[in-house]
């Protein structure tokens, strides 16, 4: 039976030496949705996506991607199943060109079909509007451009699930507008899980929001529901 959910987690817990970073996280992400994952600093957002893409092994619980249990699968195998992840802290290959950074991800899928690789790389760079910087050494790019390159590296892999960890952090106003357009253009084809602090971006791009607080899911709902949710406001602004 084909499942509608691309990603499901069941009772995922993560304990860092006595500290409960995640507690019983039950999460369901339907195929094709743009989902925002929000919450105050230290809520466990990055830890949670870390357990999904394999950087952080969960203490207990189960993670199912595309009908397959991936809880104990090695990181690279999860990526091969179609999960792409962009790092919160920019992690490009700083001594390689922007082109090569994207090409590495594309080649993993398309091997040595050079023409195909070339067109996909240029397309990915073009979508984040840095195609003209293709031959630049990644480390020489501005911080904002490195962020965009990071996103292009994900796009180049044409992922099923695209996890973006605070992608707009450090981007200029104009670049944030471009990013919103990009997410809108991807919606429908690619399932997106977006960790974001910029509420403006969340409200304009996400279809559905999950709020994480102190390692637990506090609330879930549409953008409008969350905007008026008392608990969410309390978590962000502090109660009393």
């Amino acid at each position: 039976m084909a499942t509608l959910s691309l990603l499901t987690t069941r009772r995922v817990c993560k304990n860092f030496g006595g500290l409960d970073a995640l507690t019983d996280v039950d999460f369901e992400l339907p195929r094709g949705q743009v989902r925002a994952l929000i919450g105050p600093n230290g809520a466990g957002k990055s830890t949670f996506v870390g357990t999904i893409c394999g950087r952080i092994p969960p203490t207990s619980g189960e993670i199912v991607f595309d009908g397959q249990d991936i809880t104990h699968l090695a990181t690279h195998r999860r990526i091969c199943l179609g999960i792409a992840y962009t790092f919160q802290i920019t992690s490009v290959f700083s001594r390689l060109t922007a082109y090569e950074n994207v090409a590495l991800g594309v080649r993993r899928i398309h091997g040595s079909r050079w023409q195909k690789v070339h067109s996909l790389v240029m397309e990915a760079l073009d979508r984040v509007r840095i195609a003209d910087l293709a031959e630049q050494i990644a480390g020489d790019l501005s911080y904002g451009h490195q962020r965009l390159l990071e996103i292009a590296m994900g796009l180049g892999q044409s992922p099923e699930l695209f996890i973006l960890d605070e992608p707009t952090q450090g981007l200029a106003e104009g670049e944030i507008e471009g990013f919103k357009d990009l997410i809108r253009s991807l919606s429908g084809q690619t399932t997106i899980l977006l960790i974001e602090h910029n509420m403006n971006v969340v409200m304009e791009t996400a279809e559905f929001i999950t709020v994480l607080n102190a390692g637990r899911i506090l609330a879930e709902g549409t953008v409008d529901e969350m905007r008026h949710n008392q608990d969410v406001q309390a978590a962000y602004l502090g109660r009393d």
């Binding site: 090695a74 690279h76 990526i79 790092f87 290959f93 700083s94 590495l104 080649r107 590296m153």
Partner: protein, 314 residues
């Protein structure tokens, strides 16, 4: 595309120059060049792991001597002819490399250096232990009469030069090809940032293993070639000195460049050759030159050319 043609022209030019050098240099330099070409294969093998994959091994003497003794013992004791002995040497080196890769790649960084160093020392001591067959430090000579291939006498200086050239050319073209494949590019990604390469979906453990295997086998090709062309196998070639030398050659020539190992090997060889004509303290000259180069050309000679003049240099 222009850069591609540059690269092809460079590779063809290097190989052609080595052929031309045979005709324009004296017999003495011919002998030196043959030795340099064989040892450059060792350096290229080392560079594949160190320069491209970013793994610093201090135990490559083990792979070199595995090739050397693989061939030497097969010919000397088992009386195999050249080709089967060479095959045995490669198979043996591949087995040794696979075993070392399986064990040592569980470590990284300094631990990897120490583990490879220890394995190489264990290999060296094993050679001494079986002195009855290996003749230990004294080594043994592979008889001139046995060193023939397709009726050609490999001890003849001209034939030896072209045999060394064939080994070099095959290894050089293999490396030039390998580093341009998606596999080779992934090795560079692992060198630059292994965690990120894994997050792009690459099985970095498998890539590192295969890189070590290729690196070990190339070192073994060099060791077997050396034993065959120069007719000698001895435990000195398994000592720690022969683990440090390829690192030195690669650093001098330019790590992570196709051409660097050849330049570095030739440079170091002639540095010793020329300076020892003038002084018995030639190691002092070598040391000073190394300090000078590391200070002013930290990326090695080919690395510096790439940085300043030709960024397309492979």
């Amino acid at each position: 595309m222009r850069q591609n043609s540059n690269v092809v022209a460079l590779h063809a030019g290097i190989l052609a120059s080595l052929l031309i050098l045979f005709f324009i240099t004296s017999a003495y330099h011919n002998g030196n060049l043959a030795r340099i070409m064989v040892l450059a294969v060792f350096a290229m093998g080392y560079n594949f792991l160190f320069g491209y994959t970013g793994l610093l091994s201090l135990g490559h003497a083990l792979f070199f001597s595995a090739g050397m003794y693989g061939l030497g013992i097969s010919m000397h004791h088992l009386e195999l002819s050249v080709l089967p002995a060479f095959a045995v040497a490669l198979l043996f080196t591949a087995m040794v490399s696979a075993a070392i890769g399986f064990l040592a790649l569980r470590t990284t960084g300094v631990a990897f250096m120490i583990v490879t160093l220890m394995f190489a020392q264990a290999g060296y001591l094993t050679i001494l232990l079986f002195g009855k067959y290996t003749r230990g430090d004294e080594g043994f000579v592979i008889q001139q009469a046995e060193r023939t291939l397709f009726g050609l006498d490999l001890t003849d200086p001209s034939i030896r030069y072209f045999a060394a050239f064939a080994l070099f050319a095959a290894s050089y073209l293999f490396i030039a090809w390998a580093v341009r494949t998606s596999f080779g590019r992934c090795l560079v990604a692992i060198r630059e940032n292994e965690a990120r390469a894994r997050m792009l979906g690459y099985d970095t453990a498998r890539h590192k293993f295969l890189a070590l295997l290729a690196s070990g086998v190339l070192s073994g090709v060099s060791g077997a070639g050396y034993a065959l062309l120069f007719g000698y196998a001895g435990a000195t070639f398994a000592s720690v000195q022969y683990s440090i030398l390829p690192l030195l050659w690669v650093l001098l020539g330019g790590s992570g460049t196709t051409l660097g190992p050849l330049i570095g090997t030739a440079f170091a060889f002639y540095l010793v050759d020329i300076s020892s004509e003038f002084t018995s303290a030639y190691l002092l000259v070598v040391g000073a030159a190394i300090v000078f180069l590391t200070l002013f050309f930290p990326q090695g000679l080919a690395g510096e050319i790439r940085r300043r003049i030709a960024p397309w240099l492979p």
